[in-house]
Amino acid sequence: MIPQEFEYSAPGTLQEALQLIAGGERKVLAGGMSLIPMMKLRLAAPEHVVDLGRVPGLNYITESGGTIRIGATTTHHEIEMAPLVRGRCPLLAEAASRIGDIQVRNRGTIGGSIAHADPAADYPASLLALEGQVRLVSANSDRTVAASDFFLDPFTTAIEPGEIVSEIVLPAEEGSEGYRYEKLAHPASGFAVVGVAARIKKTGGKISFARIGVTGMAAHAFRALNAEKLLEGGATIDEAVATIGEGEEANSDLYASADYRQHLARVHARRAISVALTRAT
């Protein structure tokens, strides 16, 4: 219940934060929803914590030229409630609304969540389906990585030492697009046993565009590329979802075995696609 001692810095500017982080073994604290419980159980005992909570200019949601930018310290609740996200990127708002509980959504940040890269986190499925990008900055670099290249393994991302997530970049959706985030939440933790995010566009009553991201099922979130292709090629939903998880090693725990998880991914994909279809115009 009681964390170990640590040194604490709350830099007032991004540059200062990046300098601090470049200075050695530093743990970045954003919303703290993953880090602080681990510190209380003493599973995590960082010597130096750099709190991004006082860095100005990391909390924003903007849109220009069809691109939505969300600052790293924007909270899940801000994302689920923001008219801009609800209007132009509703899939992300829906995913944000399914994270944890309201208290967690009030503190937890999008940057912190994706940097943590829990294999059962909610955002990654949507970021993949949205073909989003993650902007990473360090004291001397600034680069953008596609979501599909970002999540590498459980708790392992493309973030290099010294880098932090500064913003998430997403395409603004067209009004005609249908979307859905379908999740089976673990009854205790609320984490996604599986979560499937789908985007569907229709042309002449047929699926002309499909993007599907799956979280919780495997070591990291992945895009169901085969299923997308099949859907775009006119296959039935059942045919398409039957390919989901092929080639992936499914996770297994007390609550859901690998076989069951794989099955759930397909069931939830079917449900997500069906709802997305009804929402597409």
Binding site: K27, L43, H116, A218, L254, A258
Partner: protein, 156 residues
Amino acid sequence: MKISGAHVISVPQERAYALLQDPAVLGRSMPGCDALEKIGENEYHMKMKMVLASMNGLFDGKVRITDANPFSSFRLIVEGAGKIGFMRGNGLLTLAPLENGTNVQYEGSVEVGGTIAAVGQRLLDTTSRMLIKRFFDKLSTEIAASGDKAGSALPA
């Protein structure tokens, strides 16, 4: 928890067998481990720094090799304990020749105790597999660095 899987390494079976039991190679390949120190026949002292997500912990323990059946199989037992709990991996490694190397199949169990067992069960399976994968990836790097390649003459 039961674990099983297979990895291919790009050296012939006898060489693979030797590498997988070489404490220097094992020490460098095991994630978070620097070196193994011999404390007995086929028994080594191990210090491991486990870093996973925000979790980190030092484990102090042993690596043992038993049931050696030269070139085809042996058992690798890794045990460590630290402030955050303890862990134990026990796997039977079975080697089989392939055209371009050796297939290493493993079958065994991973057990954890203490605080990590209380919060880690949902992640035990996926992270164990990741760590095993990292082990074999590092082993491959070691092999590449040492100039070993499939089919090369065996240094005895």
